[in-house]
């Protein structure tokens, strides 16, 4: 391969685009639509992760309220809690202290500590909640008989579990949709290139008869597919900068939704994702569509 050949391929691709302007714009439009959906999903994914990060951080502390426990019970329970992996910090809070805390927050003015409305508790800090390790830890805690039989109530487990479930669901749905959109993108690209191929099938057949290799015949069409895909990716990024950038700046200016990921952070990783997807779709889609025309 020499520079002449590469230059010839690029010129042929541009010629191909000029000859089939309508097909080119249809391909570009549909690819832009597809990449916008992929980009949109990615933005949802990033913001959902950011939101989950915020929530799971604040909810990684759980509290187990217990009925009357003796000092011996507390010692045994604490020693067994420390043996559970994933718990980074444990604090025992007496009923009196809980009452004082509630009073400090203005929540216990009408109640006195003697009313027995407050219970002692174990405050636990759990590591890596995002990884979904909350249920095994909860089961391990419930496996301590000295604690389990005295549990009055628990705080934090349900919320954290819900947040984790949502995080996993968002992740699975996002990746599934991403794969579906990528496949649809390939299909669109295949059809765009097929139309271009159809209009140039005579040229391809002559190329094959005079001894062009498959690689040489494919190259201009693959370049054409890449031009469409990369151009669509650039337009998608510009539109994202304008639309998402505007929304993110508005949210920041109005101190709304603290979890919103800044536009520059989104564009950084999204540009890599879109270009990888675009190059993949452009190459795979156009390669797949041309194969049958090469059988001359």
């Amino acid at each position: 391969m020499n520079f002449n050949t590469i230059g010839y391929w690029i010129l042929e691709s541009i010629e191909g685009i000029k000859k089939n302007k309508k097909t080119f714009f249809i391909g570009l439009g549909t690819m832009f639509f597809m990449l916008t959906l992929i980009g949109g999903l990615y933005i949802i994914y990033l913001n959902a992760n950011s939101f989950m990060g915020d929530v799971s951080e604040s909810e990684s502390k759980v509290e187990i309220f217990v009925n009357d426990v003796t000092e011996d019970d507390v010692t045994i329970i604490l020693s067994k809690l420390y043996q559970i992996d994933g718990i980074s910090d444990i604090e025992y809070v007496t009923a009196e202290q809980n009452y004082e805390d509630a009073k400090a927050l203005g929540l216990a003015e009408a109640i006195s500590v003697e009313d027995n409305a407050f219970h002692p508790s174990f405050k636990l800090t759990i590591d890596n909640v995002k990884n979904g390790n909350i249920s095994p830890i909860r089961n391990a805690i419930h496996g301590i008989p000295e604690l389990y039989e005295k549990i009055h109530s628990e705080k934090g487990f349900e919320t954290t579990e819900t947040v984790i479930k949502w995080a996993i669901t968002v992740r699975v749905v996002t990746w599934t949709l991403l794969i579906i959109f990528i496949l649809i993108g390939c299909f669109i690209m295949m059809n765009s290139i097929k139309l271009a191929l159809y209009s140039r099938r005579k040229e391809i057949s002559i190329m094959k008869y005079v001894g062009a290799t498959d690689r040489f015949t494919k190259a201009p069409f693959i370049i054409e597919g890449l031009i469409i895909a990369i151009l669509a990716a650039c337009i998608t990024l510009i539109v994202t900068r304008l639309v998402y950038g505007g929304l993110a700046e508005f949210a920041e200016a109005n101190k709304m939704f603290s979890f919103v990921v800044p536009v520059n952070e989104v564009l950084g990783s999204m540009s890599i994702l879109l270009f990888v997807v675009a190059v993949g779709i452009g190459t795979i889609g156009s390669s797949m569509s041309i194969s049958k025309y090469l059988d001359v």
Binding site: N4, K202, Y209
Partner: protein, 226 residues
């Protein structure tokens, strides 16, 4: 140079297009394949071009067995052949010069060589003065000359023409055959599949008559027998 050894070809439809064909074409030969439509001429051409593979038998070119040649090597085999079709198959949006240069570009020849070879091929067919014209500005005969120039520009060792005069009037057809004859005199092996009885009779070249997929006759200075 070309050897067909007990070649049979049965298509997927079950039709046997050629049956037990054996023949040899020497370097520098000029051979006509004649016979009625559907007799197997085109199948033999396709076998030679490696468009299809024989069901039985072997094909050799210059002593090399090409019967089951890997697909990736077929382009390199085709570079040793120039091909001319009945319908010219020129690219209408390219000039005469570009059509001929196209055959060199696609085999990745360098620009310097293209600039040297294309005018040579065009002067050989007498169309150098029409290099900048488009195919639709040329007569049928001239278009076929461009196709011949395109087939020759890479200096192939053989030229294969499938009904090259089928779309031409008798005078123009004769001009094209004379051109092919000149090319043959320069040492290129020429194989022509044709129905043009008068031309075959007049040229007195080797005539291989095919009927119902078998070689009916193979005469060194033959004529159209039917």
């Amino acid at each position: 140079m070309i050897t067909f050894e007990n070649i049979s070809k049965t298509y997927a439809t079950g039709i046997e297009a050629v049956h037990d064909v054996s023949l040899e074409i020497e370097k520098g030969d000029f051979a006509f394949f004649i016979g009625p439509s559907g007799c197997g001429k085109s199948t033999l051409m396709k076998l030679l071009l490696k468009e299809i593979e024989p069901t039985v038998g072997k094909i050799y070119i210059n002593g090399k067995d090409i019967t089951h040649m890997p697909r990736k090597n077929i382009p390199y085999l085709r570079r040793s052949m120039g091909i001319v079709f009945q319908d010219f198959r020129l690219l209408q949006d390219k000039t005469v010069y570009e059509n001929v240069a196209f055959a060199m570009r696609v085999i990745e020849a360098n620009s310097k060589l293209i600039k040297k070879q294309v005018p040579n091929a065009l002067s050989l067919v007498g169309l150098l003065n029409k290099a900048n014209m488009y195919p639709d500005e040329l007569s049928g005969g001239e278009q076929q000359r461009v196709a011949v120039a395109r087939a020759l520009v890479n200096n192939p060792m053989m030229l294969i023409a499938d009904e090259p005069t089928g779309n031409l009037d008798p005078d123009t057809a004769w001009e094209i055959m004379s051109l092919l004859n000149d090319i043959n005199r320069r040492g290129t092996t020429v194989i022509v599949a044709t129905h043009a009885k008068e031309i075959v009779d007049k040229m007195q070249k080797r005539v291989i008559e095919i009927d119902k997929g078998v070689i009916h006759s193979d005469i060194k200075k033959g004529v159209y027998t039917k």
